[in-house]
Amino acid sequence: MDESEGRPVDRRGFIRDAAVGAAAFATPGKLMAEQPESSHAHETGHGHGHDHDHDHQDVPPDIALRVRALESVLVEKGMVGSAALDQIVDTYENRIGPRNGAEVVARAWVDPAYRERLLADGTAAIGELGYLGGQGEHMKVVANTPEVHNLVVCTLCSCYPWPTLGLPPVWYKSAPFRARAVIEPRAVLSEFGLDVPEDVEVRVWDSTAEIRYLVLPERPAGTEDMTEEELAGIVSRDSMIGVARVEAPSGGDR
């Protein structure tokens, strides 16, 4: 197949246009405003033929550029809107994250009846706080105790409770974690600085279906006087995946 045949503009042309609207790298809305104009300039202006002493082979097959090209074409075809994309990115960068899960944990620590509901029906209890949604419609909460330590993994992919923890960190999605968590969880936990005593049972939860898992870590000693909000502030993302304990804050203010 000859890809250049009948094609209005090559990738180099696209890059040139993209560079014209340099500000568009920061503000995609501006790119979209300018795109039809640049596109028009291409059809009537430079056309084919020139610059082919530097054809698109010297353009790096840069992933950022390929993604920009895809977004641009989907926007021009009316399939997606840049503002909607911005909003999705903003949601996961700024609005949905492990603070949600930390609120769930802190509530369970201060309210025994909530804890009971949370462990019996994680979906309903997390729903009370409003933290259900995509990749967190069906929730199971597993409690760490002096006898049991829980660890969550997705060996097949990257399943993770988005509404309570946000999007997963790279290590959670990485081959070493996915491969090792099920065969040598204690070695994995050791790498995170968490040595689980021999008489504590390690339970690994492989998220293979549509249920998503959240670990309810143990409330550390020395936090008896803390408020629910203060407690939420010390619950880490890693403790809710099961690769860390929650530590009481050190220092003099308490």
Partner: protein
Amino acid sequence: MNTIHDMGGMDGFGPIEPEENEPVFHHRWEGRVYALTRAVGPWGRGREWPSFRYTLESIPPVEYLSMSYYERWFRMMTTRLLVSGLISETELETGYPDPGTPRPELLPASNTGGPGAGLLDMDVPARFAPNDQVRARNLHPRGHTRQPRYVRGRQGTVVEDYGVYALQDTDEEGRRPLDRRPQHVYSVRFEARELWGERAAAGDAIYVDLWEDYMEPA
């Protein structure tokens, strides 16, 4: 399918490398890939739209391992858009719509699509119950499956019945079978030593969520 995504129990990948204060997206393009993947979803309705997981798993193993997470998503998304005819190779390459081609239209959901991935409010008899001894069937489908290799042929104990879900397995071209057979999904506990022998600590356990079709009485 038996390929590299099914990683549970493999050696050789080295240490886990957590990053301090990791950003949600490391590059702007990663966020765009994430958002685009979600935003184009409705366009797959009524079209040939390969399964998300199947398409990721179909990336050849050598490439899969050399790609970053969102590079795989980008490959997956563009594959879907190309297979469904929503974009052309030229459009993907140039960033401009092919002149003269009509804008695609959103189609209504196909009435053969069957139930979604979530919990179904259906009265389906449960074949197993908590405390039942079961064995993961020795299945090796060429399409997508949620039964990880490391449990196949191994014995475990049903811990909880999670209710009725449609099977998510696909045929070998990534299309879901028309009959997605709603069935119970169970949490099944496998003793670590049943899976990994002496390498595992006695008393530790792996809990795997299995559709009924993946199981048989032990």
